[in-house]
Amino acid sequence: MKTNLAVFFGCRSVEHEVSIISAVQAMRAINREKYEVIPVYVTKSGEMVTGEELLKIENYRDLPALLKAARPVTVVRENGGVYMKEQSGGVFSRKKAVRLDLAFPVVHGTNCEDGTMAGYFEFLGLPYIGCDILSAAVGMDKAVFKDVLKSAGLPVLDCVTFRAREYLTDRKGITAKITEKIGFPLIIKPINLGSSVGISKVETAAELDSAITLAASFAEDILAEHAVSALREINCSVLGDADDCTASVCEEPFMHDKILSYADKYTSGSKGGSKGMASLSRQIPADLPEEKAEEIRRLSCEIFKAIGANGVVRIDYLLDTETGKVYANEINTIPGSLAFYLWEATGLKYTDMIDRLAELAFKRERARENLTFTIDTNILSGVSFGTKGAKGSKI
């Protein structure tokens, strides 16, 4: 009896391909003696398909052929369980239904990692791995993330946020506000996108406009924050839940450009970049004094708890080499390659890490079952019998 583990990946997101790479890696690592792996590929148009052929990365080169071979499915709740049903066939074909025990979303970016996918599973009542709706949403929105950390007394860089539409009508005002409050050099980012898409560093006022225009093509909300000049980027992963979490060793990704761009993160490796985050040039563990590494690991656990995360996340920091100060820059609630390379360096095999993720998911499910109580009787069916003096509930 194996646990039917449905791996959801792809989705209507700019990081669609990255998700495919992360998911194929994960599916290869899953312990097949314990879990039955069910790939559920969500196409760029949002349709769900399944099939053995989705397990191999080579098959994704010819997407039309892959989609022809894979079978369209729907996920439904029935008879107290959640089932994946094949939509196939004519009138007489019997629809095959597979019971899903656990969902494993390996998705990146908007429309999925931002809590959308978690909400979908919550709605279905299907236990799932990773952050819940709120923590995923907070993690995706860079401005809200900063606010939550700030109120928890955790170090973040000050920022100015504004709407792209606002900038169009009040270019002068916003430029002045950014210049005054942040100053140059600064970073312009679209709020709510991961993977460094649409991010640029702005050295002078002249570059500001094109940076904002670029960011505006990815999101309606934009954030400007101070750029640390003497900068090292340090990442750290956290695994666990709010009761009990641990931080991995730190890594230092190397930047080709001024800041790590989308191209750096996902296409710099060999073989057309099919190795994802795991193949980026980096140093693990990061070359840091022990107490600095320890500080970052401690901060990571605090941030993890502050947003109420669950599963595995990666938190990216900016280290100002002049002042020695660390600032939390962003959190990835479903990090590329699930940050497994950081955990292997910490002494936890990828296979065991996924096992731990599944345990955490079931633990959360149990806690919920223990808290919620359903009223079996239909309150609407209870009509009163109007006792003298008793509180009637006549309808």
């Binding site: 194996k2 025990d101 079931f362 223990n370 109580f373 008793a390």
Partner: protein, 522 residues
């Protein structure tokens, strides 16, 4: 003529299939036990059965004397039975559930009728005999229902056997699954819930739901609810006869056992408390054979006086218990106590009312400690335990008063404990509303008398429901110094609530004890 007889028989058979709906429904609701079904027939069917028999006789005579009119009579009967079947099902609270077994019964009935009709119309000798049988069967539907049930018995047994084997196979394929057996004369359901809540701090737990404590209940739980990720299976084991627990053990093979009590329950089948003890300890035998640990309630006198305590882990309030409840404080808001086990002293508090519940918690906690649940997690789980519905459940009630809802309690010891819980509500006026206990056979008078006595000593106002039924209770009350003007004997529950409503205020607590109607809340 032959065709008219054929038509008449077919019409009769079809009408009988409709009439069978009611019979199958009742057979189903009596768990397919012919004896219980007879009980229902006796109570509810007498007049109708006579009417149907008269009808059958009439139709038989008609069939012999004037076959042509038989078809007309049969057609009328069909119309009547269709209409009745639909109206009966519509009116029923618990309708006929069309399960696979019901479908098989219907198939058996259809085949039976078909064979008899064929035999009656074929040019064989003695066709009048078949004709008579056919007419009788189609008219005497309860008989047909029983006949189908009997004919299908070997098939049903084979199917049940297959289910049992399938459950055994599923369990064999899960050597990693830890099975815990819970049994006892009373307290087993509470312990199952408490244990399931505490263990869920660390494990994925499945417990047999509700009252699924028979072999087939366990089989159904395994086949329908056991998930691949389930790590612990808590199996409640009920018994009415010697060997019942052994039978469940042979399916589930528990590696840990917990025996909550031995008492005078189901004596109509067990005869002696020794037999009850022997049956409950079939679980201990199985667990010890599997090299496991058995936890027993040291506060159950009938249990503890019969065992060699060194073989078991004893829990309870007694001083020599391996897992002991100390410094117990009980009251309106629940209980708090110190759990002592192997040098560990764990302060626990619970919202559950009653001393017996702290003992139940001690047993479950001892087991959880063995399975590596952290003491702090046990504390949290115990603090968050909720009472089972209608079992010593504390609720707000009329005019700001509080109610102890113990409406589902049917065991004499439990009822006395409920009265003790009410007595512990210091500073409040104490009221009890109860119709007393039933279905206790010879002990019924004694148990009700004792309940009446206990109420007389603990309560300020007593409202007894049912003028005849409550006589032993009233005698018990009157054996104490209870003031007569505070004893009310009423005929119905509404009246009881009416009296209570007149006196209830924020300084009043009422215990609703046993066997009250579903809609008693307001």
């Amino acid at each position: 003529m032959k065709y008219s007889v054929l038509a008449a028989l077919v019409l009769l058979a079809v009408s009988a299939l409709f009439a069978l709906a009611r019979q199958f429904q009742m057979l189903q609701q009596n768990s397919y036990f012919p004896s219980r079904y007879f009980g229902w027939l006796k109570e509810n069917f007498c007049a109708q059965a006579i009417a149907e028999a008269v009808l059958a006789a009439g139709i038989c005579v008609l069939a012999w004397a004037a076959p042509l009119y038989l078809a007309v009579g049969a057609a009328f009967l069909l119309g009547f039975r269709i209409a009745r079947a639909f109206s009966q099902q519509k009116k029923s609270i618990k309708k006929l559930a069309v399960t696979a077994r019901i479908k098989r019964l219907y198939a058996a009935a259809a085949v039976l009728y078909a064979v008899i009709i064929a035999a009656a119309v074929l040019p064989w000798i003695g066709k009048n005999v078949f004709l008579t049988i056919g007419v009788l069967l189609t008219c005497l539907v309860p008989g047909t229902a029983l006949l189908c049930r009997t004919l299908m018995a070997p098939v049903e047994n084979a199917i049940a056997h297959w289910y049992v084997n399938d459950a055994k196979r599923i369990l064999r394929e899960r050597p990693d699954l830890l099975v815990i057996g819970v049994t006892g004369s009373y307290g087993k359901t509470s312990v199952k819930f408490i244990l399931s809540r505490i263990l869920s701090e660390k494990y994925n737990v499945l417990a047999t739901p509700g009252s699924f404590n028979t072999p087939m209940g366990v089989v159904r739980t395994v086949r329908e609810h056991l998930l691949p990720q389930t790590q612990v299976f808590i199996c409640e084991m009920g018994a009415k006869n010697v060997g019942d627990i052994q039978e469940i053990c042979e399916i589930a093979h528990p590696k840990i056992g917990i025996i909550t009590s031995v008492g005078a329950q189901h004596l109509e089948t067990f005869r002696t408390v020794d037999a009850v003890f022997k049956t409950k300890f079939e679980l201990a035998d199985e667990v010890l054979k599997n090299g496991g640990e058995v936890f027993v309630n040291g506060d159950s006198e009938e249990l503890f006086s019969r065992i060699d305590a060194s073989r078991y882990t004893v829990y309870g309030l007694r001083e020599d218990a391996d897992c002991r409840v100390r410094n117990l404080q009980t009251g309106k808001d629940g209980s708090s106590f110190l759990l002592c086990r192997d040098g560990l002293e764990l302060p626990l508090s619970t919202k559950l009312l009653g001393k017996h519940n702290t003992v139940n918690i001690a047993g479950a906690a001892a087991l959880a400690l063995k399975l590596g649940v952290k003491p702090d997690d046990i504390r949290y789980a115990v603090a968050s335990l909720k009472p089972t519905e209608h079992r010593l459940e504390l609720k707000p009630y009329l005019n700001g008063s509080v109610m102890i809802d113990d409406a589902y309690n049917a065991n004499p010891e439990g009822c006395l404990e409920a009265v003790r819980v009410l007595a512990s509500f210091e500073g409040l006026r104490k009221v009890i509303i109860t119709p007393g206990l039933i279905e206790l056979g010879e002990r019924e008078y004694e148990c009700n008398y004792r309940l009446g006595q206990a109420a007389g000593e603990a309560c300020d106002v007593i409202i007894l429901v049912g003028k005849n039924r409550s006589k032993p209770l009233a005698e018990g009350v009157r054996s104490t110094a209870f003031p007569e003007e505070n004893l009310h004997i009423v005929s119905g529950f509404r009246e009881a609530v009416g009296i209570y409503a007149g006196m209830a205020d924020a300084a009043t607590a009422v215990l609703l004890e046993n066997d009250l109607p579903d809609n008693y809340l307001y």
